[in-house]
Symmetry: D2
Subunit: 385 residues, 4 copies
């Protein structure tokens, strides 16, 4: 039993000059399952209106604040009001709209990290659980079909017990003091008041952490971190190297950097187990290398008939039609839509449909940020995550 109509999305943030708001919209629109019906796109009501109009929204549904939006939409008739809120604001502005939306009965898609502090994250998780709400966190890299394939294979024992994980996310865009130039993305990410206690680790280190735990199914137990700030005057880390120990004995390395000059989004993970290994690169996401002890490495490819059902389900085209970042991101929206339809039709959550990152992944991310910052402050002491 499901609900047969397009779902209605309201958006918080994502006005002009924003980056991730546009990504969320493409991801939501791509599969023809979701319409944007309203938004509070900016802290300035005028900008919000202008952004909404550019998106072909009705003027009366372009709100000045998220509070206004949630209250107004909650009063609309069931057949008209938004079904969920997508939150695409800086980190310090996740908790407020998420909490309020949940409390008014709306489902939520929230950008990562889920909140500004661990306390906020845990409170959100409690509300989501208490309400049985549908809540998706856009750790988008787990939306790639080959990442899902990797997870399936590790679970099925394809590489034996995991021994070692190396996950890395070098970027170069903050190699110079870009935040001094009026670039908005750089601005808020390097500002402790908006980004939180970490820049590099909060922004991309958490992606790496989430990817490693997702594919291996293992939790990081303790870690030892050495964070750096290479660009003078920057108040937060722009680089970090971390040793990992997973529950169950696997070891690992995680590093992230925003000052790796010349790098784009070179997220990459390698996992070695007792009988084989896996390797995946975000910049060529349709390839998964599968390594063996005594046989040639195999090149698994998106669309291959030999892939797991979950990988195939999260692919839109046959092999050879490269899918990318936006399709991976859209998989979160598409799977969230399936879960929300089920919830709206039946009133209950479904394990089967919950194939997207949850608020609990968000809590893990906040614990990871806290741990790396604390370990680094203690000169690399091993800290429990």
């Amino acid at each position: 039993m499901t609900l047969h109509r397009k779902l209605r999305m309201g958006m918080v943030g994502g006005g002009k000059d924003a980056f991730i708001g546009g990504v969320h919209r493409i991801a939501a629109f791509m599969d023809g399952e979701i319409d944007l019906v309203c938004g509070a796109f900016s802290s300035s009501p005028e900008k919000s209106k202008a952004s909404g109009e550019a998106l072909y929204l009705k003027p009366e549904r372009c709100y000045g604040t998220y509070q206004e939006m949630i209250l107004a939409e909650a009063k609309l008739p069931v057949g008209e009001r938004m079904d969920f809120v997508a939150i695409v604001t800086p980190n310090n502005m996740h908790y407020g709209p998420a909490k309020m939306a949940l409390e008014h009965g709306f489902a939520v898609v929230c950008d990562k990290p889920v909140a500004f502090t661990l306390v906020e994250a845990e409170e959100l998780a409690q509300i989501v659980d208490a309400k049985g709400a549908v809540f998706a966190l856009t750790h988008n890299y787990t939306g790639y079909p080959m990442v899902k394939q990797a997870r399936t294979m590790v679970k099925a024992g394809a590489i034996g017990k995991v021994r070692k994980v190396v996950v890395e996310y070098p970027q170069g865009w903050l190699a110079t003091p870009l935040e001094g130039t009026g670039q908005k993305q750089a601005d808020w990410r390097t500002d402790p008041a908006r980004a939180g206690k970490s820049c590099c680790m909060g922004d991309i280190g958490t992606h790496a952490e989430n990817l490693a735990e997702y594919i291996t199914g293992l939790e990081i137990d303790t870690l030892c971190a050495d964070l750096s700030t290479f660009v003078e005057g920057r108040p937060l880390d722009d680089d970090g190297n971390v040793l990992l120990r997973f529950r169950g004995g696997a070891k690992g390395i995680l590093f992230a950097s925003q000052v790796a000059a010349g790098e784009e989004n070179n997220l990459r993970i390698r996992i070695w187990g007792e009988t084989g290994g896996l390797e995946w690169h975000q910049q060529e996401p349709n390839t998964l290398l599968v390594k063996h002890l005594d046989r040639p490495t195999e090149i698994y490819r998106t669309g291959g008939g030999y892939l797991s059902p979950i990988a195939q389900f999260n692919t839109r085209t046959p092999a050879g039609h490269p899918e990318g970042y936006l399709e991976g991101f859209a998989n979160i929206y598409r799977n969230f839509a399936l879960a929300l339809r089920h919830k709206l039709a039946t009133g209950s959550l479904s394990e089967e449909h919950a194939n997207f990152p949850s608020v609990h992944d968000g809590v893990r991310g906040m614990k990871f940020i806290d741990a790396v910052v604390e370990s680094s402050a203690q000169n690399g002491a091993w800290i429990k995550v």
Copy 2:
């Protein structure tokens, strides 16, 4: 001056089991500029209804035939009726709906090849020109930003006068007699009654031809072809090797295959000029190799700040977020939408907005098919395109 509302699309073909229909819809939806409002999705009215319903269409706008759709939509008020028709049927079903749509004043997006025969193609071109209609042909590979970058660079003389072009499109999906198994895609493509006089060259050889002419800005003058049918009993070619001579003196090779076992969509082009070379692979479309006489090869990447304005305009995300087949395809829809808005607002065509393959590209494609088939029939005689 432009038109500020979502554009309304009607679709011909693209029901269940179709491949390219779904691609067109994703491409049309992605940017939030186009709504699907009606369709004649199948030759069976029941199937058409079912397909339309699955796409959340109103039942009264799911038509049994394209004729019915065009007539009915033409009668709807201006603020409601479709703006353009997307044609995603097998080759033998392009001409009919395209012609009728044009004659009723609708713009058209048509899958390639543009028609079943050159005569049909030329008639469509005449109508388009006569009416000043907005018509896009989905030779989608030219939608990739790095292909546009390559074209810009050749035009700007970055590699000097072009000397040699090698373009290739190996696939392996028809290495076995798949058409005997009920696979619909294989079925119609190997059937002369629906595909036309060529299978491999018509389906993918034309993409290679279009890509080569698009990037170099050169027209193939004459060619010498050796087509093959490797799978027994198949009535059309499933492989072909072609020597090219371009107007102006460049030479080239084009090959396409559907029996290259183990290949996906390995479309690749290499161009060498007097002072440098370019290389692009569809399966890793965000990279363009730029070669020089005496300096290191450079890796141009989608999203790079050094790219041409047209490449940047056709990109949705910053460098490092891989864009793929669907985004390249969507660029045709997005640019078509810009042109159509301009036309609807001003009544006239705009050079500036016509950044997508035209009906004249479609005529070139049909001439190419005719030429390769004739050359091969004459044991490789040089034939004028």
Copy 3:
């Protein structure tokens, strides 16, 4: 039964400024099986002496001409005189020393193409056969272990009956009129009096031809060629595109270029059969891609325990220690040395040891050159090889 001592090499050509002479010496020395004992390194006796001295030869064994060398060495006692001659001169200087060496009972290693004309080549072949001589032609690319692996796999049916071969060899070093600058390599290769009737096809097209026939075990039956000279004033071809038809029904493409700006030695071959495909690139020679109809592509690697005995035998180090051009070249010398030891010990030839290109491969190469030149002269007529 074999001969237990180092073999003694005399060299014709390979003085200062030469390229391939130094390669032959490294290839001969690498395995500690061969000593250089004498040479006629240059047409100038002074240069020959100087070159020999630089190579630590005794002055009395640095000869002024090859005739002098062969006559003098033939008179030396068996325990002292050279065992074989390595000929590393321009094409027009292969026949003379080869014939004379053979007639005086010396084995021969000869650079390719084997001779200046087909007539010369056939005469050499006749002498070699009549004498049961050990003669190696340095079509070095077949010395790579992964090329031998590919041949073994095709023979064993790993990809089914071969359908299509694409072999290519683009270089860029002659993209400008380098022969006008005093560069010796460019000088003689573009000179019909020294290179023969073809520059590009003779120099590197023959490598491509040899590689294709070696791996597939198929002979090119007929071909259709379009040769070009892109650099003005050059008397020979510097580029060529060729369609191939193999005996047994396979089709193919061969192209070679010396004006592909920015290319090094991008020799590459792809072969597709009924059930799979193979792909090998000279510039990353330790990888062989093995493609399948319904399974992931496999990455075969030099040194892998799963490789054929012949591939393993032609490898010096374990997997992960990249071997290159010089090792591939050295395999010809090493295998030639095995054959020559056998011959010297037993007086007879051994099939088992003859794992290197022969004079008959050289005859094939000359026929190939004749055919492409003739086909191109006849505007692409199909010509028998």
Copy 4:
């Protein structure tokens, strides 16, 4: 002033079943500058004789022990006796022959690590310095031309001040308890009595350390290590993750593994500075990626005319002829030979010719091993190298 004759090498170790001995011989022979004249190839005099005979040595110069060899050779006339000793034994057998050879006036090429303990290494360094001896350590990866290019570029400021180094060396050959199977290479490397206090870090971690310090010109100041033994019962580490802090402020990561199932010798280094980055992979050693802040990444290639003189000097063939592990290794021998010729001719050392790893690099390596083992024993405390 130099010495014009082939140099004479004696070898310690490297008999049948050995791996690295054969590599040293190829490296020594390749350039025709060095002859093998004697050896003590095995601890068994019979095996030593047999090995020497297989290498075409005179029986009287196949010695039973290195002591015997050094004493006997020292008594031979100057024009006959060996010039240097190559030591290719397990780690515990480096110090003895190295010390004795030096004390008898012979130059030395020694495999790495230079000794069994730091104390031994420091004593050797003292002797080398006191005697002004020519001593090369075969940290062969710095012999690759593109590694030399990288060092030159860093020194010249091509990437600005170095910020971050990531160096890694995953292998998979010890993923299973291979040492229980009679495999000699696995046997001694996992045996503390022969390998020393570390297996993985001593064998390949030191290569990574040496490579990082060589290219950056920076010394590791302190490190924090987490070593593991994944294969049960193995008495030494088979994997290790290390955080690095360089003098001057750069940070880094070094990891090595012998249990990374499916890996060959995947040594890789990435370095990022203030204005760019460098990336080199041992398995495709002819490519060096050069990254920039705002321009496309460049692909530097062995043989390119734009490379530094030192890179060009250490290359044997033009671009496009892949050079590999053996050529890189041979560069150490070739450069050692230049230095030794100079020493033999002039009696003094020459800075200019000392382009190979020294005994002091060996001391660094031993300090590195001590530091990682100690840090790991202290649960990742930061330890001074």
